[in-house]
Amino acid sequence: MSATKPRTLSDSSPRTLFDKIWDAHVVETLPDGTAVLYIDKHLTHEVTSPQAFEGLRLAGRKVRRPDATLAVVDHNIATDASRYGTIEDPESRTQVETLEANVKAFGVPYIPLTDKRQGIVHVIGPELGLSLPGMTIVCGDSHTSTHGALGALAFGIGTSEVEHVLATQTLLQKPAKNMRVTVDGKLPAGCTAKDIVLAIIGKIGTAGGTGHVIEFAGEAIRALDMAGRMTVCNMSIEAGARAGMVAPDQTTFDYVKGRPFAPKGEAYDRAVAWWKTLPSDEGAVFDKEVRLDAAEIIPQMTWGTSPEDVLPVTGVVPNPAEIADEARRAQVQRMVEYMGLTPGQKLTDLKVDVVFVGSCTNSRIEDIRVVADIAKGRKVAPHVRALVVPGSGLVKEAAEAEGLDKVLLEAGFEWREAGCSMCLGMNPDKLKPGQRSASTSNRNFEGRQGPGGRTHLVSPAMAAAAAIAGHFVDVRDFAKQEGV
């Protein structure tokens, strides 16, 4: 929906998934077109909430709907046993303690570190059935887009907006524009949801979705399980979009059914009946359309320091000298230097020091199964440190019930406790300066995984294969050679 025309529920013109959820949550439209938008679920964590609670306290305000709010710790915490002691870093400790004091003072439900349901906020929302189709979901974290996989409108907000939602359960928003990314065809063996989304970002760029909410559609998206859809929606933000979504279908309904906080019995049936009305209408207009053929996707890896600087693993490091545009040439030059690369070098010749499997992009049980499959009966290369960090305590428990922890430990992977871990340089899991990682996370910015760290974003399968080989490999060849 473009920002010009405020819609009403009686408007019978075809609407997109985004339009429908938007329309169902407009409390009021202000004269300039800004909507007071109702928020169904508000997730918070220790990093972006302290100043919001501080603001409420200063203004003498309450949390309007504690029952629609949930707090969890994930960013700052260690992912080894040390986390159950005192947090060493005094500032991290202060943030966690501040959150604990705030949830108490404001009566907000909280999942503490000692609860097995603790985990990365974007993993636990869907897992616990807190995130549902048709909802508006926000969190002071850009990767809130993950929850869009359920067919929800889910987006990241800043701390002032966190405060706004706590106080009013609404946000002041202008509608985004609609964009549809259709991925036709079937994904080849060895390729995953991560490769789809990296290929999309490579195609449209990190600003390709700015101002838009992306609906991911097409045969290849429909064929993904919920974990895969979450991986794709998770990285919508790396494509510049405000949010990403996938229309709810039977895969979604089956996923939601029986989750602890999902509606049950008759309420579930009523909910499904509503959710079935959400997919975009035939003839709904998108402001922007992009198409991709899944069959052409090759396992992807980023080489530079922006997610759009991605290539098929069969590629070579770009040569800045061959780039005509001056600004781009300078940028590529800087990235090549920072990443310690040689123009023309084959990507598969790059050695890795660290392999990180985790983050809200790829830390679900499905991801861990893929890694364990590749690790089974093999060994992590001697010079590589490889970590597998489940996205939540429940993922960890499920993996252990399947014996995946043993497979991974035997192969030489570290098996950690749930948290954001090495996705960002904020807790003890960090790259050292100059170290090169194969990471299943979502950002390869300079210093993202620790100052001076060099991040290559890949799928869990590619990360596992790199851990074993000690350098990047095309997981398709790897599978053939090694008989996976």
Partner: protein
């Protein structure tokens, strides 16, 4: 929030596209529980050596840019993480306006809410302003929100557009929570209707 009306100050050139929020304020500085005091960490990785010494070639380490109040940059400024620490760090350093061809959405939103004005101008104009910003002591640019113009050091006026509601809040230094609370009756009404239609949204508390 401090009102923003007119600002005349030193503009610092940052001729880069995709200045992400990790660059503006690296993750390791997000551990604060306050909004202030982040100015010293602004652009930390570009600004300081590992031992904390200033990098002399970084623009904000040079005179007169140590006192810059405006930043001129290229496309997609503020992309990446949603951290509001990015505008807090800019503001705490003293930068109240960023001029660029476009901005990432969340950063754009966050800036307004903290009294930092993002001004969108076409690339060619940003290139001219970049040249102006390179003039050292003569790099003073005026950003007049009331009249919606940027005034170059040579006196040339460049109009810019801005959302009228945002402009109103900024000009008056208004807090949006107070504004929204005036709509409390409609919010109550919305909740009553939603609760009847979708009761499961109201009985799933942890």
């Amino acid at each position: 929030m401090k009102a923003f009306t007119t600002l005349t100050g030193i503009a610092a050139p940052m001729p880069m596209a995709n200045v992400d929020t990790d660059k503006i304020i690296p993750g390791r500085f997000l551990k604060t529980i306050q909004r202030t005091g982040l100015g010293k960490h602004l652009f930390a990785n570009m600004r300081y050596e590992d031992d904390g010494a200033e990098k002399p070639d970084f623009v904000l380490n040079q005179e007169p840019y140590r006192k810059a109040e405006i930043l001129v940059a290229y496309e997609n400024f503020g992309c990446g993480s949603s951290r509001e620490h990015a505008p807090w760090a800019l503001l705490d350093f003293g930068i109240r306006c960023v001029i660029a061809p476009d901005f990432a959405d969340i950063f754009h939103n966050n800036s307004f809410k903290n009294g930092v004005l993002p001004v969108k101008l076409p690339r060619e104009i940003c290139e001219q302003l970049m040249e102006d910003a390179r003039l050292g002591p003569n790099s003073r640019i005026t950003v007049d929100l009331e009249r919606q113009v940027v005034v170059r050091p040579n006196g040339e006026e460049i109009p810019f557009t801005i959302d009228p509601f945002r402009r109103h809040l900024l000009l008056n230094g208004l807090d949006d929570i107070g504004q929204t609370m005036q709509h409390a009756p409609s919010i109550d009404g919305f909740e009553a209707k939603q609760r009847a239609a979708q009761p499961w949204l109201y009985d799933a508390a942890l």
